[in-house]
Assembly symmetry: C2
Homo-oligomer: 285 residues x 2
């Protein structure tokens, strides 16, 4: 997905938010905004927003020396999600369609996103998403692909959301599941230790995609990841950042996300706050 004009003020907003959390003083914060402003000129709109984002968070790291501004927030998000886990597990257990319920829960976890200028209330939002209609519903194709699959590449998104992902992975753990995380901390995206803290190592092999962006940008990814990406029977891609990077790839991918911003919604031709399970490049039935 290319960058929309509307993404540009949003980058400034994100720089301000992350800068406020990390800058030592006002001078440093001003420098972050100055440099983010200058960055716009050097970027083409043909790049994905996640690539832009990578540069913004990189310069914040360089200016402040803070490698992981969201470290504590991520820890807290994982704890909060773990507290909800038993309740969510019970919802799956009691549901008529375990897989669909687990998909809904995994999407609900996608609201834990500090890169989007929106507040969220975890418990309420989960409740809403459990009964919300899907704007794109390629669930039957997803179910069918899963039946036939042996290896699944699952692209994680945010820390905390990773605990919600666990509930979906538990439903498909008769397959080999590889859970990919970012190479380095960007916003509150999950890195290796967040996946471990979420208990995902009990069910999946955890790898780094190599991405230093808040999304899966294939040109940034490491060889191991690319190999798995190309050969896995199914790719499940969580969240906006991964969609930004992969919406135009050639292989089949199932995107599970909530459209949290107007730009993503427009690109998907859905409304803001819609939830989707969307398959691309699927084989005809």
């Amino acid at each position: 997905m290319k960058t929309y004009f509307e993404c540009i003020p949003c980058f400034m907003q994100q720089a301000l938010k992350a800068g406020k959390m990390t800058a030592e003083n006002d001078k440093q914060l001003k420098k972050i905004l100055d440099e983010t402003g200058c960055l716009i000129k050097s970027f083409s709109l043909e790049s994905t927003p996640a690539e832009y984002g990578a540069e913004v968070y990189k310069l914040i790291r360089e200016i402040t020396g803070v490698e992981d501004p969201y470290k504590e927030i991520k820890k807290q998000s994982i704890e909060d999600a773990k507290k909800l886990y038993p309740e969510l597990k019970e919802i799956v257990e009691k549901s008529r369609n375990r897989l669909l319920t687990a998909v809904r829960i995994a999407i609900a976890g996608n609201i834990i996103d500090f890169g989007v200028n929106k507040k969220f209330s975890l418990k309420e939002d989960v409740q809403r998403i459990l009964t919300q209609d899907f704007a794109i519903f390629d669930f039957l194709q997803f179910e069918k692909a899963l039946r036939e699959a042996r290896t699944i590449l699952y692209l994680g998104d945010n820390a905390g959301e990773s605990v919600f992902d666990k509930l979906l992975i538990e439903e498909i753990s008769d397959k080999k599941v590889i859970y990919a995380v970012r190479e380095i901390p960007v916003i509150n995206d999950a890195v290796y230790e967040d996946a471990i803290a979420s208990g995902l190592d009990e069910l999946a092999e955890i790898i780094s995609s190599g991405a230093k962006a808040p999304g899966t940008i294939l040109s940034q990814c490491n060889d191991e990841f690319i190999e798995i990406f190309n050969t896995a029977d199914i790719v499940i891609s969580k969240g906006q950042g991964n969609y930004e990077g992969l919406s135009d790839v050639k292989r089949s991918v199932f995107f599970l996300l909530k459209a949290k911003c107007g730009v993503i919604a427009r690109d998907l031709r859905v409304n803001e706050n819609d939830i989707i399970i969307k398959g691309i490049n699927l084989l005809p039935n």
Copy 2:
């Protein structure tokens, strides 16, 4: 008032909005955002937001060649406000305190602001403001100052709002009223012809302040305006932009506005959406 960090993403948002209305193509729009981004570095936070804004709108004019992007919108706002005028006049006529009601109406007009990232519904917002509590209420001092005044400098803000101002000026038209507008079009701020179209010339002398910013920046103002500003018995300042420019001046000023953004609200120590009539540098009673 100095510029807050939060103003910076807002400038990008404003550049995007005005750019979309005026740019011939995507390349031009990108250039507007590129240049607005670069501008940040050259600006100190000691400047007022209105000064920043002046530079943003100046570069949009330079890049697009469009002198007045909001021309049609301003015309429409004035027409819409004029349609409401008879109803508003009746509200003043029937009120127990005509002056206070006219002040409320003048403040209600302040919602017609296309520089703020907020939608408004003219009729509903007017109804709300007619009964809303003031967060700062220096009305008694205002009333007293008016009783003793002979000349009043009234600083206009937005086109359309100018029609609402007329209702307040009608209540004080036994004095000499000078209504000041911007020198050139910035956002939807009123310029000379907008004041004429609003019928203000029937009641007041209309002058240009000389300001090329979306606010009264004294260093930009012309000699005639400065002379009047220094000698008028009362200065009535409408809206956020004028507040930004004048909140730290030495003379007495009455600010009438609705705090439409978080930054102005914080500066005034009120809540967003609060309405205020605030006098500064008033003589002790």
